[in-house]
């Protein structure tokens, strides 16, 4: 193995952080038993035995967590990042440096109390959290890993970091209140929960309020602290979002991993021309990129991620013809647009308009579907499936047009697949690189 660039353990407070709930529960239970013990000289042997037992048990708990902490370590070498953990079932996960796509530092509320941070290492298909690192260690590890993954010498300064968009609290609160779809659900939920009580006068019927409160909190109140202070910065090969009021999190998206970008616009946001932006990222599901932003900010982000052509494709809008009104009442909003490298599709009219722009070179499948109603009116929908869990769908197109579009997309996907970097070659290159780093190989 190559020499370690950075190695270390988690923050010394880790055993306390991990055991405090169990210790508190134990202390509470012990305190509850205080009346059962007779603290008099007559029963000295008895209470010394009980006190000794308690201390022994506490020692075992603390020793267990300390041993677990001692067995947890990370090592960064010139070729790999490895993370070992577990007391009984010891595991060591190793990530080749060139497979690491992003590294993010988060600070959940509990971590801020203990002045530690959580590091998330993302590869193409999975991620690994390394909790309880000291803030300095986490930042140092993140910077070094990112520099090494890019092939830079550790210690060089990271460029970029310009702020692209920042969501202030007022805008965020207003955007949640103006989301008619969410507020409609809350109001209907409230009516559904309270009306039975008004009719029956039974307190039991108020039980419906509990699930309503839960769903209302999740769709409105919880969004505010979760998305609070959302800031998007430009980093060298993509963007980084930092967000959260209590749990401070960050997430980095690299340009070449973003396969699609979707703008959502609820009806009451239209007068302000606000949109929310989400994106499909290879190996992961759809991610929120911006909870609310002006269209200009969103378009700037789109251009930064996918280039100017992605914006241009949105200028041309092939709407469906009037015959589609038999398939959907919102036919005026449906449409698609395509260019050399992009496919955009519009859907939704009343509550939420949605436009998705996808890279055709990231297309994995092409699907044509036709429902009974569409068949009666000579319509069909074409979907291009993208990695990252997002699809771009041109809905209710005339059958001939749908077939031609599907055929065109199919050929594009096929050509791009043939032109892609073969995995066999990548494997071979990785193996060669590993061998050249082996000691005694002359490197």
């Amino acid at each position: 193995m190559s020499d370690a660039v950075i190695s270390g353990r988690l923050h010394p407070m880790t055993p306390v952080r991990r055991s405090w709930i169990k210790l508190s529960a134990f202390a509470w239970l012990a305190y509850g038993q205080r009346d059962l013990i007779d603290f008099t000289p007559d029963s000295l042997g008895e209470w010394v035995f009980e006190l000794g037992g308690t201390v022994a048990l506490l020692t075992v708990i603390i020793a267990g967590f300390t041993a677990s902490w001692a067995k947890t370590s990370f090592t960064l070498t010139t070729t790999h990042l490895s993370y070992g953990f577990g007391l009984w079932h010891q595991t060591r996960r190793t990530f080749p440096i060139e497979q690491i796509r992003t590294v993010d530092v988060s600070r959940p509320l509990w971590a801020r109390v203990f002045r530690v941070a959580e590091l998330t290492v993302s590869t193409e298909s999975t991620n690994q959290k390394i909790s309880c690192l000291s803030v300095r260690d986490a930042e140092r590890l993140r910077t070094t890993v990112l520099q090494m993954a890019k092939g830079d010498v550790p210690g060089t300064e990271e460029t970029g970091e310009g702020v692209i968009a920042r969501v202030d609290s007022k805008q965020l609160a207003l955007s949640i209140l103006l989301d008619l779809r969410v507020m409609g659900k809350v109001v209907f939920g409230a009516a559904f929960a309270v009306v039975p009580y008004l009719y029956t006068d039974h307190v039991v019927s108020l039980a419906l309020v509990i699930p309503w409160l839960r769903s209302a909190w999740r769709s409105t109140g919880k969004r505010f602290p979760a998305d609070h202070g959302w800031t998007v910065r430009e980093v060298e090969d993509g963007y980084r979002a930092e967000y959260g009021l209590f749990n401070k999190s960050q997430y980095t998206w690299q340009r070449d991993r973003v396969t699609s970008v979707t703008f959502h616009q609820p009806i009451l946001w239209r007068s302000r021309d606000w949109v929310s932006v989400s994106g499909g990222i290879v190996g992961f599901s759809s991610y929120k990129l911006l909870p609310v932003a002006t269209r200009a900010q969103a378009e700037k982000l789109l251009v930064g991620l996918m280039g100017v052509d992605a914006l241009k494709v949105m200028d041309v809008h092939h709407r469906v013809d009037e015959k589609a009104k038999w398939c959907t009442p919102f036919w005026r909003a449906c449409g698609y647009s395509e260019s050399e490298g992009f496919l955009a599709a519009w859907q939704g009219l009343f509550l939420k308009q949605r436009v998705t722009v996808g890279r055709t070179d990231a297309g994995l499948t092409v699907c044509v579907d036709q429902g009974i109603w569409q068949r009666m009116h000579g319509r069909a929908s074409v979907t291009m499936g993208l990695s990252g869990g997002t699809d771009v769908t041109a809905v209710h197109r005339e059958v001939g047009e749908a077939t031609a579009l599907a055929e065109k997309l199919r050929l594009t996907v096929r050509e791009r697949t043939q032109a892609g970097t073969p995995i066999r070659r990548i494997r071979l290159e990785t193996r060669t690189r590993e061998l050249t780093h082996e000691p005694g190989s002359g490197d």
Binding site: E124, V368, D369, Q370, G371, T403
Partner: protein, 184 residues
């Protein structure tokens, strides 16, 4: 299993897109064996019977025991489940007729759906994983299912085909993915 190459294939594939979804029966798509129809019918009938039994028990408990209704009330769940049973019987053949797969020279094609019909295609180079599975009823009728994961939402499924054929198809797809697989 590869058939032809070059422009000829392009034309053939184009015909698939134009011909199969909208005029289903005459295509190059490979269907599952006809005994799959019986498997689906039995599977659906057993499910339907379970629902009928549960509903009948509920009617017996509520209507007959509690509300003191006559015994003929026990037949009422049949009004709901009998039409469903008839539809399931017809649906099994329609399902067999509409389902199919085609291994083209460059891509895998899968067709499915009765009311809403789907035809989906993906190049072999995009295949991530290939799984062969057999369900309880599949084992009774010696049928297997091949699922192909491609990294997008859902997967391409070749339902209820011959087990030997399933193994052969899965091996071929794995080999093709290994040979032509590209980075996502």
């Amino acid at each position: 299993m590869e058939t032809t190459t070059g422009d000829e294939v392009h034309e053939a594939d184009l015909k698939l897109f134009q011909g199969t979804l909208f005029n289903p029966p005459e295509t190059a798509f490979r269907r599952c064996p006809e005994r799959a129809i019986i498997a689906w019918r039995i599977q659906d009938a057993v499910t339907n019977l379970q629902i009928t039994a549960a509903l009948t028990f509920a009617v017996w408990l509520i209507a007959v025991l509690w509300q003191k209704q006559p015994l003929w009330w026990l037949a009422t769940p049949l009004a709901l489940t009998f039409p469903v049973g008839v539809w399931n019987f017809i649906r099994a053949r329609l399902r067999w007729r509409m389902r199919g797969y085609y291994l083209g020279p460059q891509e895998l094609w899968v067709r499915s759906g009765i009311g809403t019909r789907f035809i989906e295609t993906s190049p072999y180079g995009r295949i991530q994983e290939c799984t062969v599975a057999t369900s309880f009823w599949g084992r009774r009728f010696d049928l297997a299912t091949v699922s192909v994961s491609i990294g997008a939402q859902g997967s391409l499924v070749m339902l209820h085909i011959e087990p030997e054929e399933a193994e052969k198809v899965a091996k071929l797809l794995r080999d093709l993915a290994l040979k032509r697989g590209v980075q996502l």
